[in-house]
């Protein structure tokens, strides 16, 4: 019951890039806040409340630290609060630090949610569009890594019980790790020979390779992409016309609130909140249908 997860793999990256582009290059506090709000809600729908609460323990100190670090290095601004070693600590520098921190948090939370949505399957599919060989290699590595890890555990346990380097001393542990790694290299070469044999047996290397995926580009995907494109266009036009220009130095400028800037805020807000809304809508619909049963 994850609506975002059902989307075609091309939709989310395009969407993600659009949000990132705007959030990173527009220094308007309203835009940053909207991006953070959208990213945080999106993360919440993907990772759950509990995980986000844990995430806050990282976000809040990071926010404070970034806000405090900026005035140490930047002394511009018309409102000095006090002087430190002959350099002004200004209100503008602190505000700017906070604004940058807001933007970083927004990017982080979007990145987290995006990472959750873009499963290895989807990444492999996207790579496959660009370079099929690379996609197969990626898929094979994803298969190998857990296998290697398991084999490493087996070897180190077998060696330990055989009495090899099994004391707890630092030197023994180092030696044992080294031995396991060198044994793993031999093992993986052996495994690679076997796999390549299995691949040949199933016709790998024949001309005219096709590629198969479980994904369909559905009407919802097209709809969503179009909607995102329209919203992004409004935002970009507004930015181009300077509707949301905002400066922190030398003085914090007044928040633009013309009709156009309000339109840009609204469009970006919609864009940013779209995935969470889709997800929440799905949840509500689901509950509604279930209550009907």
């Amino acid at each position: 019951m994850n609506a975002i997860d059902r989307l075609h793999p091309t939709v989310m990256p395009v969407y993600f890039l659009a949000i990132l582009l705007v959030a990173m290059f527009v220094s308007n506090p309203v835009i940053s806040l909207l991006a953070l709000l959208g990213g945080f809600l999106f993360c919440m729908t993907q990772c759950g409340l509990r995980e986000m609460r844990a995430e806050l323990k990282f976000y809040i100190p990071l926010f404070l630290l970034m806000a405090l670090t900026n005035p140490l290095f930047s002394h511009n601004g018309v409102t000095p609060l006090f002087f430190m070693n002959g350099n002004a600590v200004t209100l503008e520098a602190i505000t700017y630090g906070a604004a940058i921190a807001l933007m970083v948090l927004a990017v982080l939370s979007w990145g987290k949610g995006f990472g959750r949505v873009m499963t290895s399957d989807k990444l492999v599919y996207l790579f496959g569009k660009a370079a099929p060989q690379l996609a197969l290699m990626l898929s094979m590595s994803l298969r190998y890594i857990p296998m290697l890890r398991r084999q490493a555990k087996q070897i180190s346990r077998a060696q330990k019980v055989a009495g090899m380097y099994s004391t707890e001393s630092y030197f023994d542990r180092l030696r044992s790790t080294f031995r396991v790694i060198s044994a793993l290299i031999g093992w993986s070469l052996e495994q690679a020979v076997e796999t390549s044999r299995a691949m040949r047996a199933r016709g790998y290397g024949l001309k005219g390779h096709t590629s198969y995926s479980n994904y369909h580009f559905r009407r919802t995907d097209a709809l969503l992409l179009t909607l995102a494109a329209i919203l992004l266009a409004v935002v970009l036009v507004g930015i181009g016309m300077g509707a949301v220009d905002f400066a922190y130095y030398p003085a914090i400028s007044a928040l633009p609130h013309t009709a156009l800037s309000v339109a840009v805020y609204t469009a970006f807000g919609c864009l940013s909140l779209l995935p969470s809304c889709i997800e929440l809508g799905e949840q509500i619909r689901w509950n509604y249908y279930r209550s009907k049963i």
Partner: protein, 178 residues
């Protein structure tokens, strides 16, 4: 991972404070500046700060700075200041902007690659504020000195001009640009 990021931030913060020191002054304390009265006997230099080249390059200027450029491009009219023994071009500038409460930011000699004090911004006007080639340079008696402003000892009667240039910062503040 996340903990590491926070720790790195904290370490940077603490190091920065340790290196720069913790000399706190209130705004009034900082600007409270004793200037010697000029007597007929005292050695003096003349200092001026100008940014008139911005006026011809307004299209390149940061939009937020329009209100902070004087209409005649003069931030400090040519003014005489008492020359204290050992005063450099930087010392006199520093004294002047403090007494006039002009916003000022510089990099210490230990903070940049020039190995010399570098003036980043005066009156909110910073390097690169007006195009990629813009920045502060200085002239002594109409010539570009080949030394950093904190290494240039002034002499009685010198005329120092701090000029905001929009085109030529090839020799930033007297250094050889390296």
């Amino acid at each position: 991972m996340k903990k590491d990021i926070l720790i790195i931030f904290c370490v940077v913060l603490v190091l920065a404070v340790l290196i720069m020191g913790t000399d706190f002054q209130s705004v009034d304390e900082y600007y409270l500046m004793h200037l010697e009265d000029i007597t007929p006997n005292s050695e003096t230099v003349t200092l001026s700060i100008r940014c008139d080249s911005v006026l011809t390059h307004m299209d390149k200027l940061d939009a937020s700075l329009h209100d902070y450029i004087p209409s005649d491009g003069v931030i400090l009219q040519p003014t005489q200041y008492v020359l204290r023994p050992g005063d450099t071009a930087f010392d006199v500038l520093h004294r002047a902007v403090r007494s006039r409460k002009i916003q000022f930011e510089y990099q210490g000699a230990d903070q940049n690659l020039l190995g010399s004090v570098y003036v980043q911004g005066i009156n909110y006007l910073y390097e690169f504020s007006c195009g990629p080639d813009s920045g502060w340079i200085y002239l002594v008696n109409g010539e570009f000195p080949s030394r950093g402003c904190a290494d240039y000892a002034l002499q009685d009667g010198d005329t120092v001009e701090w000029i905001y240039s929009c085109e030529n910062t090839q020799y930033p503040q007297g250094g050889d640009g390296t």
